[in-house]
Symmetry: C2
Subunit: 228 residues, 2 copies
């Protein structure tokens, strides 16, 4: 489903070259439940951004669902991302002037789903995420972990083929994180959604069928558990 071939990302800063990702080769298959693990600064967010067409690689090719990103126009990549990929950002990126429900239902609205049906879907999802009742709050009136779950709902609601989740449990207590991972494993199992996380959280790593370890932008280890 997702193939990264010899992917590098280099930022020129002043006279330096910062190598954020270094000649990475990676294949993610349909229905996988995989996590990118590694120290702070090891390249996890950069890899997710490249997979999600939010960022371009300096070298190498990215192919997602048979589509080569470099052969698409900027508009085609944007449309592809909107319709086929759900992205949970490390810093949420919620829109402060919209309510939690308006933030979460955004893509459903673009897909032309009628308002009442959207509201029902969002309310159900919010309840499953433990934020039922918070639909009409603004993001600034929510706790950190509540904001995180609104960002999660926004990515999940359109049921995309692929979910890219950057540190989705960073601001959640272990009970809430467990519930979230159960929810996501259910979507993986029952709807065939592919999940690629980046995470430091041992809980996420424990739930993942495959752990891809990065260090200094390079692949250090790539292991699947035997029963996955």
């Amino acid at each position: 489903l997702i193939t990264l071939r010899n992917i590098s990302k280099i930022y020129p800063i002043g006279s330096q070259q910062i190598v954020a990702v270094d000649a990475l080769n990676l294949t993610i298959n349909r229905r996988e439940f995989a996590v990118l693990a590694g120290p702070s600064g090891s390249g996890k967010t950069t890899v997710l951004n490249i997979v999600g067409a939010l960022d371009s690689a300096t070298e190498g090719t990215v192919t997602v669902a048979g589509e080569n990103y470099q052969q698409m126009t900027a508009k085609e990549r944007a449309d592809f991302r909107l319709q086929r990929i759900g992205f949970i950002f490390q810093s949420y990126n919620l829109i402060p002037v919209l309510t939690a429900a308006e933030n979460a239902e955004f893509i459903l609205m673009l897909q032309g789903i009628p308002a009442q049906l959207r509201r029902r879907q969002i309310e159900k999802l919010f309840t499953e995420l433990g934020i039922g009742g918070l639909e009409d709050r603004r993001p600034n009136d929510l706790s950190g972990g509540q904001q995180q779950r609104v960002a999660i709902a926004r990515a999940i609601a359109p049921q995309p083929a692929v979910i890219l989740a950057d540190e989705p449990t960073a601001n959640l207590d272990s009970r809430t994180a467990e519930d979230l991972l159960e929810l996501m494993r259910g979507l993986n199992r029952d709807k065939g959604m592919t999940f690629l996380f980046s995470s430091h959280d041992p809980l996420v790593i424990a739930h993942a069928a495959r752990v891809i370890r990065l260090r200094d932008g390079r692949l250090e280890e790539d292991s699947s558990t035997p029963d996955s």
Copy 2:
């Protein structure tokens, strides 16, 4: 050092009253190393904001270092906070147009410390936090965990009497989090700095000499380890 007496925080939202903190009594003594623990939404950030004079309580009194917050003017509270309290925000609040070093040295500059001396102090602190070499980057060119450590450096650099840290390890891997907690315990032991954390992280809770558990805005449990 810090006394909260019968503290409540209530937000009126539409026709509802949201009780974020409910009749909380708490005393934090000098040199403590304590953590506020509890589920997402249980009131940790709200309590820290009240202790740090960033937010006012709806009911009850807050006394810090003998000063009653309600008896101070807004300017006096702001000065007090700037000089006596270091705050690490759950969402960092770094200034995007300043470099990492400029963000971190801000209060040292207000204190009139000369530029070269400031730079040396910040470089040393950045190295201890594992972000040495990132002084001249802008926050947007840093990873999530690197931004978090810039926010930590900003709070620690002026060596305030009290540090209030809201989820300081949320975006850090366990190795980096361990190093951070060692650094903070060193400051607690050698400089007598008082630390009050809010955290979900079992690592932080394990390092804390005292764990104050919240649930639904109320105190659920308040326990010190025998050797602390």
